[in-house]
């Protein structure tokens, strides 16, 4: 049976990993290449690189880092951040990315997912969506969670999957950073609405939170987290051993 994926997310700014400062056991603690190598040899199932730069100068640094990483890391690499046109897909895929995640870019350019999936295939196009409750309704937020688009989250996700998104990362703004668990209510709705893999993001604070996610939603595919892995609050090995002991299928 297919295993539940555990995915660390690395925010990369100006060539360094942000949030990686307290990472122990590594000489160069905030080098994306070193961290990626560390994770890939320590049972991470996939890696997400998130480019949080603005200038084209910094973007060049990012793609160089991606290339360096892809030369040494042989698990799937997803790249997100600043993907607004098909040319952006091309730029990161040539540097070794396997999947490209789009968020605000898909909101701004409603044809992006359609075009990209036609050229590169659905398996390459990941929809990333930031969701927050507004008056009891799930709304899509853009620009890193700062702007309410007023779009219904479930409808938006369904539209994107119909257009060709092959996977959906659901970031709950409400649970993000709170460390009290994933947003089960939201994730259940999304997972029931689409038939492509769904990745939970936002809210993991302990191993129990992961166990709870996979028990509550047995068909959810993967979970993504950043700081709890970077700060070594949880090691992926320990997490997977616990999941396995709870009869949740993982790759160890």
């Amino acid at each position: 049976m297919i295993t539940k994926r555990i995915i660390p997310c690395l925010d990369v700014k100006n060539g360094r990993v942000v949030k990686g400062k307290n990472f122990t056991g590594l000489a160069d603690v905030d080098s994306p290449v070193k961290l990626a190598e560390y994770y890939s040899t320590n049972n991470a199932d996939e890696l997400v690189f998130y480019d949080i730069t603005a200038s084209s100068e910094e973007r060049k640094i990012f793609t160089n880092i991606l290339k360096e990483t892809a030369k040494k890391v042989f698990i799937p690499l997803t790249v997100g951040g600043g993907i607004e046109k098909v040319e952006d897909f091309d730029r990161v895929l040539k540097c070794g990315a396997d999947k490209v995640s789009v968020n605000s870019g898909a909101i701004k350019n409603k044809n992006l997912i359609k075009e990209a999936s036609r050229i590169y295939g659905s398996q390459c196009v990941v929809l990333s969506v930031d969701v927050k409750r507004v008056d009891g309704k799930f709304k899509v937020f853009s620009k890193g969670g700062r702007e309410n688009t007023d779009m219904d989250a479930i409808e938006w996700i369904k539209t994107c999957v119909n257009d060709g998104a092959g996977e959906v990362v659901v970031n709950s703004i409400d649970t993000d950073g709170v460390k009290k668990g994933f947003d089960i209510e939201l994730l259940k709705l999304v997972n029931a609405a689409v038939n492509v893999p769904v990745i939970a993001s936002g809210g993991a604070g302990s191993i129990e939170d992961f166990i709870n996610l996979y028990k509550e939603i047995p068909t959810i595919d993967a979970s993504l987290a950043a700081s709890i892995f970077h700060y070594k609050e949880i090691s992926i090995n320990d997490l997977k051993l616990r999941l396995k002991s709870e009869n949740i299928s993982v790759r160890i």
Binding site: M1, I2, T3, R5, S40, D45, K67, A70, K71, K72, F74, I75, P76, L93, K94, C95, G96, A97, D98, Y120, G121, S122, Q123, C124, G166, E167, N195, V196, P197, T219, D221, A222, R251
Partner: protein
């Protein structure tokens, strides 16, 4: 020297990097003379069967690959590259493949019931027979899959299965022609070890 066939589809960078990493010489090429010179061929690929087989034919590479296969040169097809080696595909119509492995490419949705498609993620290899590609790996190792169609072939050509609602062809071989539905270049150590074993074939 391994020739990685470049026909404009797929993440060739990772495949080349993984061969570099294990110290195996390779070249990304669509040049016939380079392919003839190489002692092995890898046919990669992602995307749709129809577009890929057309691109191969436009470059005249379908004939080159078939000729080289008939000269007993080891050939490895990866993911869509494996599917192209089959007789026929039913993805978005009916399209003829290279007929180097007997069998057909069919939609996963017909056999996996309500499971999610694509079949994406790490799944277990269940060995079906001895394969020289398995020299450095063991039954039950995990590899990375991403696909919506699968290869249906005679069990005697299937070297390993994986379980996704039903047993699916994970790897297959016919004479000197090999295929993996999964991505060895994305499957960590297990994948690198499969590429290493392929590179050592006589």
């Amino acid at each position: 020297m391994i020739a990685i066939i470049d026909y404009g589809v797929g993440n060739l960078f990772s495949l080349k990097s993984s061969l570099d990493y294990i110290g195996v010489e390779s070249i990304i090429t669509n040049d016939k003379s380079e392919i003839l010179k190489a002692d092995k061929i890898i046919l990669p690929g992602v995307g749709a069967f129809r577009d890929a087989i057309k691109k191969l034919a436009d470059l005249g590479l379908d004939i080159v690959i078939k000729e080289e296969a008939n000269k007993n040169k080891p050939i490895l097809g990866i993911c869509l590259g494996m599917q192209l080696l089959f007789d026929v595909s039913y993805e978005f119509g009916i399209y003829k493949g290279l007929s180097l492995i007997p069998g057909e490419i069919k939609p996963l949705k017909d056999v996996t019931n309500s499971l999610k498609i694509p079949h994406m993620g790490w799944n277990k290899l269940i060995f079906n027979k001895n394969s020289s590609l398995f020299k450095y790996i063991k039954d039950g190792d995990y590899v990375y899959f991403v696909h919506s169609f699968y290869g249906k072939t005679n069990s005697e050509f299937v070297s390993s299965y994986t379980e996704y609602g039903t047993p699916l062809t994970a790897s297959c071989e016919y004479k000197n022609v090999y295929g993996t539905q999964f991505h060895p270049e994305k499957s960590g150590d297990a994948g690198l070890n499969i590429l290493k074993a392929f590179s050592e074939l006589e």
